[in-house]
């Protein structure tokens, strides 16, 4: 039921509408037939009874047709003007001349047809096109005829009109129903069906639906526009995501290449040199001085290898991260201040980073690393202030410089699209550990980076 709701709905309107329309049609037809039968019977009876009275020659003839007939005859009511005459009666001779008639019966000559059958009612029309039922009867062997006519309009008018009107109204309701079904189908059901088909077959992040449906009602049109917008956003996202994935792969490959180069140029050369010295030492049968030269150089190479590997380790994943956030940030600050030649002040309340997960320590550490590098590289700052404190259950890391600053774009992902990954990376790192990152900067006024993360 629910699955075919729209069809059911359309049928629920369509079927009654059609049956109402059919019933109205049948009603109109039968109504007409009934009216016709009533008129016929009426005229026939009228003509027949008048004819029999004329034939009997009850002497009533004169009084019958006077304006003010004696009241004992039922017909006088019938012939009096005041009542409003629905019909006319005339007595005609064999030549068709009017012998007697009720007032206004002149109309009968208009309706007279030469081939009019005797004793039977017929429908006819006058020149104005109004419908009448006429019947002619012979009055025995008097050679006279009685002709009676009734106007549909006058006798049955109200009945006809209102009966017909009612049926026509019913018919109109039926028609309106049909038009309703047509409009419902065209503007609601069909657009909904096509939208539904597009939604279900659409490949998210790849296809776009039609943006507009002119035939649809406004609400469905808007639904389609919203859907179009969503699909467009999904495509944008997937483009961004692809670029992001490519970025990741590229960065990873760059890192690996650099690492391989560093290992090759550094420790590998040193260890090779050590092996050479060891062999020379073993091969030298000569005196002590030569041996100790080889040994000295061997140790020198080994020391160099240790220093290089240690530096690589520090760069890849500093072991001193295990000292906790404050220790790690202090170590980072001291190292960077030596490398970058700027002063870095670390202010951390004691025990501020206690209970912080390794992931959070690492995320905050990388944020600080990136921010200090940015302050030096882009901001040209001479001093960086690092503050680490608690704000309720939130740990706040604040990095502030008084460097050049810059005008922030509203969306950090736009920077990523332009190839500047730093800020977007920082933001993502914080988001990954359930925190957030706010960057405040203005050209010429320095930069402040605030990272917040829940302690537990």
């Amino acid at each position: 039921m629910k699955r075919r709701l729209l069809t059911v709905l359309a049928l629920a309107i369509l079927l009654p509408s059609v049956s109402v329309l059919l019933a109205a049609g049948v009603g109109i037809y039968q109504h007409r037939q009934a009216i016709r039968a009533v008129a016929r019977t009426y005229v026939q009876d009228l003509a027949e009874s008048t004819a029999s009275r004329v034939e009997m020659g009850w002497g009533l003839t004169e009084s019958l047709f006077t304006a003010k007939p004696p009241s004992r005859f039922w017909g006088n009511r019938f012939f009096s003007q005041e009542v409003g005459i629905p019909g006319w009666i005339a007595v005609l001779d064999a030549q068709g001349r009017v012998v007697m008639s009720t007032p206004g019966a002149q109309i009968l000559s208009e309706l007279w047809r030469p081939q009019m059958p005797i004793g039977e009612a017929v429908e006819t029309k006058n020149r104005a096109g109004e419908a009448f039922t006429v019947a002619a009867y012979p009055a025995g062997d008097t050679g006279l005829f009685v002709m009676a006519a009734v106007s549909w309009k006058e006798l049955l008018g109200p009945m006809l009109r209102f009966g017909l009107l009612l049926l026509l109204l019913v018919g109109l309701v039926g028609m309106a129903g049909l038009v309703g079904v047509y409009l419902l189908w065209k503007t609601v059901i069909s657009p909904l069906k096509s939208l539904e088909a597009e939604v279900s077959s659409l490949e998210w992040g790849k296809d776009l639906p039609r943006p507009h449906d002119e035939a649809a009602v406004r609400e469905i049109g808007r639904l389609r526009e919203e859907f179009f917008h969503l699909a467009q956003t999904a495509i944008d996202r997937s483009v961004l995501w692809k670029r992001y994935a490519l970025d990741l792969v590229r960065v990873q490959e760059e890192e690996r290449a650099r690492l391989a180069r560093d290992l090759h140029d550094g420790p590998l050369q040193d260890v090779t040199a050590m092996i050479q010295r060891a062999r020379l030492f073993a091969a030298s049968e000569a005196a002590e001085p030569e041996k100790s030269v080889h040994l000295g150089l061997l140790e020198e190479s080994a020391q160099a290898a240790v220093r290089e590997i240690r530096a690589l380790c520090d760069e890849l994943s500093p072991p001193w991260l295990e000292l906790g956030l404050t220790g790690a940030l202090t170590e980072l600050a001291e190292r960077l201040s030596r490398h970058l030649g700027l002063r870095i002040f670390v202010e951390a309340d004691s025990g501020v980073g206690d209970g912080l997960s390794k992931e959070k320590v690492l995320a905050l550490f990388r944020v600080a690393q990136e921010a200090i590098h940015n302050s030096s590289r882009h901001g040209g700052a001479a001093e960086v202030f690092v503050r680490l404190f608690r704000d309720g259950e939130t740990l706040v890391l604040e990095l502030e410089d008084r460097g050049n600053g810059f005008n922030l774009p509203e969306d950090l992902t736009r920077l990523r699209l332009q190839g500047h990954r730093g800020l977007a990376n920082m933001e993502e790192r914080m988001a990954l550990v359930g925190g957030d990152l706010v960057v405040e900067s203005r050209l010429g006024e320095g930069t402040r980076v605030t990272a917040r993360v829940p302690v537990s």
């Binding site: 072991p319 170590e331 202010e347």
Partner: protein, 211 residues
């Protein structure tokens, strides 16, 4: 009398090298070896050496934790940290945990012997390759005022300027002014250097740091 030495290191080659270096000198007697923190703690308790050479990174309890445990137990054992990490914060962490010295594993046998002898006599030994600043030229530091010394000690314990200010009932700005003056007098560039130099020149003692 020979100095009784204990060695804890999870790397057998390193341990063998250290033993070989120490056995050449008659001044040292090796009383035990361990390859992880828990075993080390047990043997230290049994042997009570004069000097314990402890690697910072070990399975079980790590070196800094072990040093703290030794300090808290009150055993008359001097701890000398021996590691391959050259991060100054390890020195800070070790000293705050009660270690008397810090030495890189790449140090020469002579330096190793000197370090053990120094801490055995109650001194502090800081590897000059790690704490470069302590290896730089000697100066005679201008003497610190009492307030400056208080600020230096609290800061060295790991308190922030704000916390130090609250402890001493002075303003944060005053704390920073005192610190700047301390750096200036000791020739330090940051808190870590100030602490190491203060220990080196005897401006501050290890006991004051651990109080």
């Amino acid at each position: 009398m020979a100095i009784r030495v204990f060695i804890a290191d999870d790397h057998p080659m390193t341990r063998a090298g250290l033993v070989a270096a120490l056995q050449r000198e008659p001044d040292f007697e090796i009383v035990g070896e361990a390859s992880d923190g828990n075993e080390a703690w047990r043997i230290i308790g049994e042997t009570v050496p004069d000097v314990a050479l402890i690697d910072i990174r070990m399975p079980g309890e790590d070196g800094v934790g072990l040093a703290r445990r030794i300090k808290e137990s009150g055993l008359p054992v001097c701890t000398l940290m021996l590691t391959s990490y050259d991060a100054q914060q390890y020195v800070m962490a070790s000293l705050r945990a009660g270690a008397k010295g810090y030495l890189l594993k790449t140090a020469s046998p002579e330096e190793l012997a000197r370090a053990i002898k120094t801490v055995a006599k109650g001194g502090i030994y800081l590897d000059s390759e790690v704490s470069r600043v302590v290896g730089e030229q000697e100066i005679v530091p201008e003497s610190l005022s009492n307030r400056e010394r208080e600020v230096l000690i609290l800061t060295s314990k790991g308190l922030s300027s704000k916390e130090t200010a609250a402890r001493l009932f002075i303003s944060e700005r005053t704390v920073q002014t005192h610190l700047a003056s301390v750096y200036d007098k000791l020739g330090a560039r940051n808190k870590t250097e100030a602490m190491l130099l203060a220990l080196k020149y005897g401006v501050m003692t290890l006991e004051e740091l651990l109080e």
